[in-house]
Every structure is written in structure tokens, then in C-alpha cells.
């Protein structure tokens, strides 16, 4: 086919672009993915029995805000990366700040703890399983986020894949907060971070394969 014929093919009867389609697809994907993670969490791990009591404590909301802000930042960055020519820009700060804030809070807690209490505080009761539980809960959100990303045009597929993976795991972590009994920032600063970063790594690995266009 000659280039001129291709131009004819592309322009003939060209339809008006639906500007809301991408936003609708992301909304659908994220809602379904989050719902999937919550259902999976309640079946596999169960909602913590004292949820209604801890929900009245600020520390619970601080814990929830940690992955939630990362998710918002990752969503902003990943949609920007899906638009050719755009960079993540200041939205990267929104991704990084919660990590830094929780690391600082964790350091303060450990500093204040008695020397013999430091390691138990850091490890909590569930450090062995926590990161893998978050990875498991990312199973519904991960394909959902990548499906939504397919409607965009990332020109840096590895970076976009990493942030998409982080978005998936951050949403999964919000769901995991409804189960997880750990209430120390020192714990979240390590084990939650690992749980969120593993799917980001998988995303970076799969990005060039799944997000090519």
C-alpha cells in the first residue's frame, strides 16, 4: 500500500475522538481492581475484627493514607507517561513523599524505643508474610491497571510499567490495611514498601512486553 493510500484509509470517515474514553476506562479498571483486592483480602485473610475500634485512631488513617497517596501519585504519573511527550513532573513527588514520611516516622519510633524493643517493633508479627500478601492482593489490580494503560501510548514502556505496577500494589495495600494488624510506621516503612515495590519491579519487567504499541 502506498503512503498516500494509507493516508486516505486513515482519514476517510474519521470519527470524532471520544475525549472521555480514557478516563472512563481507568475509572472502571481501578474500581473493579480495588473491589477484587478487597474481596480477595476478605476471603484469604479476613477483615481485622477490631476494625471499627482502630478506625477511630489517627494512626489507622495515617497507615491508610500512606498507600493511598502513593496510589494517587502513581496514577497521575502513569497517565502522564501514557501521553507522548509528557513527563511525570511534580507528580513524582506525590509518589516519593509518602515513602519518605513513613521512613522518617519509622526512624523516630525506633529511636524512641528501648534498644531491646527495636527489632521486635521493626519485624512486628507478620514481617515474613506481609510483602507477599500485598503481592497476592495485587493480582486483581495488576491486570486491571495494565488493561487501562493499553488505552494510552507510553513511549517509555519500562518506566510506565514500573509505575503501573506500583499503582496496582498501592491499591492492593489500601485493601490490605483493612486486615493487617501492624500499627507501627517502623513496620510499614520496610515491609509495606517491599510489598509495593515488588509488583513495581514486575511491572518494569513486563512493561516493554505488555505496553508496546
Amino acid at each position: 500500500m502506498k503512503t498516500d493510500d494509507l493516508i486516505g484509509l486513515l482519514s476517510n470517515q474519521v470519527t470524532r475522538v471520544d475525549r472521555g474514553a480514557v478516563a472512563r476506562r481507568f475509572t472502571k479498571a481501578l474500581l473493579l481492581g480495588a473491589l477484587g483486592s478487597v474481596v480477595l483480602m476478605s476471603i484469604v485473610f479476613g477483615v481485622r475484627p477490631d476494625l471499627s475500634i482502630v478506625a477511630r485512631t489517627p494512626v489507622f488513617w495515617a497507615k491508610l493514607a500512606y498507600p493511598l497517596v502513593i496510589a494517587i501519585g502513581a496514577l497521575t504519573v502513569v497517565t502522564r507517561l501514557g501521553h507522548p511527550g509528557a513527563r511525570g513532573g511534580q507528580a513524582w513527588l506525590l509518589v516519593g513523599l509518602p515513602f519518605v514520611a513513613v521512613w522518617l516516622a519509622g526512624a523516630v519510633v525506633l529511636e524512641a524505643a528501648a534498644p531491646g524493643e527495636r527489632l521486635p517493633t521493626l519485624l512486628g508479627h507478620t514481617w515474613r508474610t506481609c510483602p507477599f500478601n500485598i503481592v497476592l492482593l495485587s493480582a486483581p489490580t495488576f491486570p486491571a491497571v495494565f488493561w487501562a494503560m493499553k488505552s494510552l501510548a507510553p513511549t517509555q514502556p519500562r518506566r510506565a510499567g514500573a509505575v503501573a505496577g506500583l499503582l496496582a500494589s498501592a491499591i492492593a495495600t489500601v485493601a490490605y490495611c483493612l486486615h493487617c494488624p501492624e500499627m507501627s510506621p517502623a513496620f510499614w516503612s520496610v515491609w509495606y514498601a517491599i510489598g509495593m515495590i515488588l509488583p513495581a519491579g514486575i511491572g518494569a519487567w513486563l512493561g516493554p512486553k505488555l505496553l508496546r504499541w
Binding site: M1, K2, T3, D4, D5, L6, I7, G8, L9, L10, S11, N12, Q13, V14, T15, R16, V17, D18, R19, A21, V22, G82, H83, P84, G85, A86, L152, A153, T155, R212, W213
Partner: protein
């Protein structure tokens, strides 16, 4: 350069609203710029230029909803062209792959080249291999220029299935072109 940006952008934006004549004008101008750009970028692969021009045109079309009105169109087009050029380098796995095609937006629309060479891949043939749900809407609407309604009547598909078929078919076409390399 600003003039090329303004002219292309006006045509492109009208195309986003469904103005096929403006859109055609945009694609024609873009093809000339791409040819000029690629012939300077990859002088050692002259035979591949027309294939890349076609691949980038298709990519621009499939991604046209990702253009953000507050950004310069040139930056958006350039990012797509560079992405496809990197892909080309990677698929060749030649020493070129080490060269990130770093150049700036100002240079991107600098040269126009009005002499198309022969493309080596035949997109028409790839089109024939698409499933009917995608091939028929593209044939009727995009090759014969029938409206959505007429295409729906002839193919027996719903109007939204016709639109989806065209959209998915053109994306599948892009994927098949990638598969050739």
C-alpha cells in the same frame, strides 16, 4: 517552525472533531515532514524510511486521543516518531541501538520531503488477514468511504461494533507491522 506547528495543529485539532479533509491535510503534511526527518536521521537505512513513515502515521492515528490540547503538537509528534525510531533501532539490533535519537523539537519539522519511496511492507496485505469484524468495517468505511450507518447496514454489525471494529482493526494492523520486524 512555529508556523508549521500552528498549521499542523489547526488541521489535527479539526481532525479530532471528525473533519476528514483537515485530517487528511494533516497526515499529508506530516508524512512529508517525517520523510524529511527520517532521511536525515537514518541515511544508512534509506530503504526503511517509507515503512517507518507509514508505521508512524498509523501510530499517530491510533494515539490521537492522547494529545493534550495545552501541549505543543510538535512535542507530541516528535515523541511518537522517536519511540518508533528507537523501536526500529532495537529491532535491527545494530550498533545504532546505542544511539538514543536525541534531537530537539525545533529540528523535527525542519525539512519536508515530498518524494515517497516504495514501502517494503504491504499494509494492504496485512489488512486482508484481519478478522472480518475488523476487516469489513475498515474496507467499507476507510477504503470505500461509506458512513458508519451504511457500513453497519451492509455488514449487519451494529454502529458501535463498526466503530470498535475500525479502532481495533487499526491497532491490530500496527501490531502486525511490529510483528514483521
Amino acid at each position: 517552525m512555529q508556523e508549521a506547528e500552528n498549521r499542523l495543529r489547526a488541521l489535527f485539532v479539526a481532525g479530532l472533531d471528525g473533519d476528514q479533509h483537515a485530517y487528511r491535510g494533516f497526515l499529508e503534511a506530516l508524512a512529508r515532514h517525517l520523510r524529511g526527518y527520517l532521511r536525515r536521521r537514518i541515511p544508512q537505512h534509506r530503504d526503511d524510511v517509507e515503512d517507518l513513515v507509514q508505521e508512524i502515521l498509523l501510530a499517530v492515528h491510533n494515539a490521537r486521543h492522547t494529545y493534550r490540547m495545552d501541549e505543543p503538537l510538535t512535542a507530541w509528534l516528535h515523541a511518537i516518531a522517536r519511540y518508533k525510531l528507537m523501536d526500529f533501532f532495537r529491532s535491527r539490533a545494530r550498533r545504532d541501538s546505542l544511539n538514543d535519537p536525541l534531537d530537539d523539537h525545533a529540528e523535527f519539522l525542519a525539512v519536508a520531503d515530498d518524494e515517497p519511496a516504495q514501502a517494503r511492507h504491504d499494509i494492504g496485505k496485512l489488512l486482508e488477514d484481519l478478522p472480518d469484524k475488523q476487516r469489513l468495517p475498515i474496507m467499507h468505511m476507510k477504503l470505500q468511504g461509506l458512513s458508519v450507518t451504511e457500513t453497519a447496514r451492509i455488514t449487519g454489525l451494529s454502529e458501535s461494533a463498526v466503530k470498535v471494529g475500525v479502532h481495533r482493526g487499526l491497532k491490530a494492523l500496527a501490531a502486525r507491522i511490529r510483528g514483521l520486524k
